[in-house]
Symmetry: C2
Subunit: 408 residues, 2 copies
């Protein structure tokens, strides 16, 4: 019972008492200051959103469907078919009754966790992971077991196999196959094979918001294609069209789609009829593929600009990922830096990032996530230079960098 | 572990195994047959939706805000202010930081349950209640205790007081103050006073999707106005504008809004930036009040037409509520009818309703919910006559009705 004069006096659940403010949200709020070059937010580039096409699809839907577009919105069959085709285009044979439309992919994480994981039971997640995965699969009621990344990128599947063998109540393994947030990496072919093989022993939740953002324009075959009865696939339109749609999808065996739909009903009844219909129209018009091609080119340029700037400016001994897609690049500074403590200095220097600690359950002082999708090439160059200067000032008591950083 | 050849073989959580398909959803799907007059769905009248105004607000928002309308959407301050004013207009002094925008009011139920009720703990709900309340506060992890309606309508607050006194782990009381779904009733002034007094002992979740649909145009002062530190108020734009917006709101003490926001993030990150901005524009343009006045008049006419038709056609001994607002009317037939068993006959006769059992945890064979908002006055007259004929045929072995039914 709270009676501290906070303006409320209700007894709260254990979950509510344990809730913490999102460190990331607070950080990102700080970066909204004018003049800051922000590599912090996990934001797609708004200037690339298909604003005219989306407006056209909304207006045409309201005109053609009329009030039905504003009524309650059960699953819209043409959208289920279009999503099934999108999965087919990546080599996964999916029927429309294996698709559930969700209000963003976070909703997919939430309902997948409730489908698979009893309170008290465990899930396997990456040591560095998107906080929304922790919220859905952890919280105060469920246990998280962490698995390390493999030394060369992707996930350490041998370590995962050991956890699977030694954890009788392990109920799910959340895997991000491509362009991991925050690590920027993707699974190797051997890791993919190991994951789909281990799926026979622990259901896989394939969290794939970034897979379509493959710079080479060849999105990989999703894991669900090779372990369809043991994989819950989560997709998102937030990064391939725009987050404001609040549209994601789940692919699962048809009998589980029925259960997932009831779980979804418990959190928001249904997703917007208007958005479902407008999205089906957008996809039927063939707007997605040319839009995606343009976004991939732009993000590829930005990623390359960021790598070049890091090579030019960052302290010797720094290492970073080389993105093949997605929106993020992961940096490991040499020992001695503290990215969490340094953030305010960096903000004062006009640049923002997310300290690795925001993704971890333990300190990770030399790591940071850099977002390259939401800054121009010019701002990437000037922002990385600013960030390098602020890091140098933090180490002013030590010798200044004299050589270009090594790259992984 | 399922290995029955269902096309999946994943072990499911207890919650997922216990899930049942929604009886109501299956029923409502049946009513989509052509030629059916449906009093089943809990649907607002689509022909009254402010389609042109909403289209205007969307297009203007996309034009003026540009890509920001399609980016991730943190709470939009002008919308929080407009909602606070809406609460003020009903006598509840609410600051913008006491408002959280939700993706529909079902999301409000879900996060309020998680805020207040630990797994295993109990909540008090009406014996006949919207199934979404059971999904949020019950499910497989939490206990529900049911309280009867008062004989003359509203809730039996003496019975509620006994439950409060005898249930140490009672953590929430879900109260629908006005135009109850399915009972159509509202709390009396004495019941309101009793609820806000009992709120000192158990937090109240005030579920108010219908309160603005007061036929007299005088929506009551919400309970939260009188017990602001002990009430979580849930509002919805689904019935006052349109369900396709997927917009609701929560009013709570400011420190709890922060926690509710983190809980909301765990299920869908954020609500649509575009819809938040377009809704703020709709409210700022003054479109709500004249629209609501028109909807209230139309629903009032429909409710009156339904009462007249029931008086004319329904079997003697039937009783029904006389709506002062909202979308529903509750009927109790004389003993001997079975509304669940009768539904297929009624559908064959061209009319649909929801059997009372859909809202209850026990049989309720003589009861039905009739929706009057989503049928024209003409269809109400012909549909109630059809329904009465199908009920008469079900009782063909008994004397035919010879007098008008008594009314409560």
């Amino acid at each position: 019972m709270n009676s501290s004069g906070d303006g409320f006096s209700m007894p709260l659940s254990r979950e509510a008492r344990a809730l913490e403010r999102s460190m990331m949200r607070d950080l990102i709020a700080l970066t909204a200051r004018p003049g800051i070059v922000s590599f912090a937010g996990g934001l797609p580039a708004p200037e690339l959103f298909p604003l005219a096409q989306w407006t056209e699809c909304l207006v045409a839907t309201l005109r053609d469907a009329g009030p039905a577009a504003l009524q309650y919105g059960p699953p819209f069959p043409p959208l289920l078919e279009a999503v099934a085709q999108l999965m087919d285009s990546r080599g996964a044979a999916v029927a429309p009754n294996q698709v559930l439309i969700t209000t963003g992919a976070q909703q997919g994480l939430h309902i997948a966790a409730r489908l698979l994981v009893d309170p008290g039971a465990a899930s396997l997640v990456d040591r560095f992971v998107f906080p929304g995965v922790r919220q859905a699969f952890g919280g105060s009621e469920r246990r998280l077991i962490e698995v390390d990344a493999a030394p060369g990128g992707g996930v350490d599947t041998n370590a995962a196999a050991e956890v699977v063998a030694s954890t009788p109540d392990l109920r799910a393994w959340v895997v991000v196959p491509d362009f991991h947030n925050p690590l920027g990496s993707r699974l190797t072919a051997a890791q993919r094979a190991a994951v789909t093989s281990l799926a026979a022993r622990v259901p896989v939740v394939e969290d794939d918001p970034y897979g379509f953002l493959d710079f080479a324009g060849q999105p990989r075959r999703p894991l669900v294609a090779d372990a369809p009865e043991r994989t819950i696939y989560l997709g998102s339109f937030s990064k391939v069209i725009a987050p404001g749609l609040r549209m994601g999808w789940v692919v699962a065996p048809a009998p589980l789609i029925e259960k997932l739909r009831v779980l979804k009903e418990s959190v928001d009844l249904e997703s917007s009829a208007l958005t479902q219909r407008a999205l089906a129209r957008f996809l039927a018009a063939g707007y997605l593929e040319p839009h995606l091609a343009m976004v991939r080119r732009a993000y590829h340029s930005r990623a390359e600009a960021m790598v070049r700037a890091l090579e030019r400016h960052f302290p010797p001994g720094s290492r970073w990922s080389t993105p093949e897609g997605g929106m993020f690049l992961w940096v490991e500074l040499p020992a001695g830096y503290d990215t969490l403590a340094h953030l305010r200095t960096a903000l004062d220097g006009g640049v923002a990032y997310v300290p690795g600690a925001a993704f971890a359950s333990a300190p990770a002082p030399t790591t940071m996530r850099l977002n390259f999708s939401n800054a121009t090439v010019e701002n990437i160059e000037s922002g990385i230079a600013r960030l390098a200067r602020s890091l140098a000032s933090a180490r002013a008591d030590q010798p200044a960098p004299t050589s270009v950083g090594s790259v992984t």
